[in-house]
């Protein structure tokens, strides 16, 4: 009985046994599951960045010299790479978030049809949208890379 409860029988939700490990591997994961992991990693990364960004802005309180000093530090190539990674994280998080909202609201389900063998599940019906999104992410990441390099 206890075992069944732990496994999430009845009205209890399934327990998240694997925890953070499930972000990487927990069985036969699909592409969408890895996008879920990427969505969380980019979200946490940007949350960390916002904190650093606001602390950096605090240097304005020290006047022109203090501001110039911190801007000199952020002009270092290492920070420029970091800045590019943040923009790429934003692109991934924003486009994947838009996909999740559209799916949640049911806009990508398509019209109901008579099931004909071989059956196509809803995940595969939505797959082209995932590929379009990944294409857009790649194109925008390349565009911003060119902007940063030049």
């Amino acid at each position: 009985m206890e075992k069944a409860k732990a496994a999430g029988s009845g009205n209890r939700p399934l327990s998240n046994r694997l925890g953070i490990k499930s972000w990487i591997w927990g069985g036969n994961y699909t592409l969408e599951r890895y996008l879920y992991t990427l969505h969380r990693l980019t979200g946490l990364g940007m949350l960390l960045f916002i904190t650093v960004h606001l602390v950096a802005h605090g240097f304005r309180l020290g006047g022109v010299e203090s501001w110039s000093d911190i801007m000199t530090v952020f002009g270092h190539p290492g920070f420029k790479v970091g800045e590019y990674l943040v923009i790429t994280a934003f692109i991934i998080h924003a486009l994947n978030g838009a996909r999740l909202i559209l799916q949640q609201l049911g806009y990508t389900l398509g019209k109901p049809k008579t099931p004909v063998y071989p059956y196509v599940d809803s995940l595969r019906r939505r797959r082209p949208m995932v590929w379009v999104m990944l294409g857009l992410i790649t194109a925008l990441a390349i565009f911003f890379l060119i902007v940063f390099v030049t």
Binding site: R40, L47, L54, H57, R60, V64, M71, A98, Q104
Partner: protein
């Protein structure tokens, strides 16, 4: 507030952030030298830009902190009751908001 309402707010904040962050990144970091002292002070002195950044902050903090809350509540780690986590995150959010808003207001007052 119900969980579904919090989630809807998360979506609204996310959609708003898309536009706000895109404008912020393009104006401040991609085109032109917009992080010089003069440019930053100029934007801080403008009521329009100030309102823009306060809204960006509100949407960003809500979206980020609610996302973090979702992750914390989902992980099977020893944690205090959900209300304690919620309270702590709200206090952290208000503290960050206060600090971030104080910077341009202080700059305006010392102009």
């Amino acid at each position: 507030m119900r969980e579904s309402q919090l989630k809807v707010l998360q979506y609204i904040a996310g959609i708003a952030l898309f536009f706000f962050v895109a404008i912020h990144v393009v104006v401040s970091h991609v085109f032109g030298d917009s992080v010089s002292w003069e440019a930053v002070s100029g934007r801080a002195a403008s009521a329009g830009w100030l309102a823009f950044y306060v809204l960006l902050l509100i949407f960003g903090l809500y979206h980020g902190i609610h996302g973090l809350r979702t992750i914390i509540l989902e992980l099977p780690i020893p944690k205090p009751p959900a209300k304690v986590i919620d309270g702590t995150l709200v206090v952290i959010g208000i503290a960050i908001f206060g600090y971030a808003v104080y910077i341009p207001i202080n700059a305006l007052l010392t102009l």
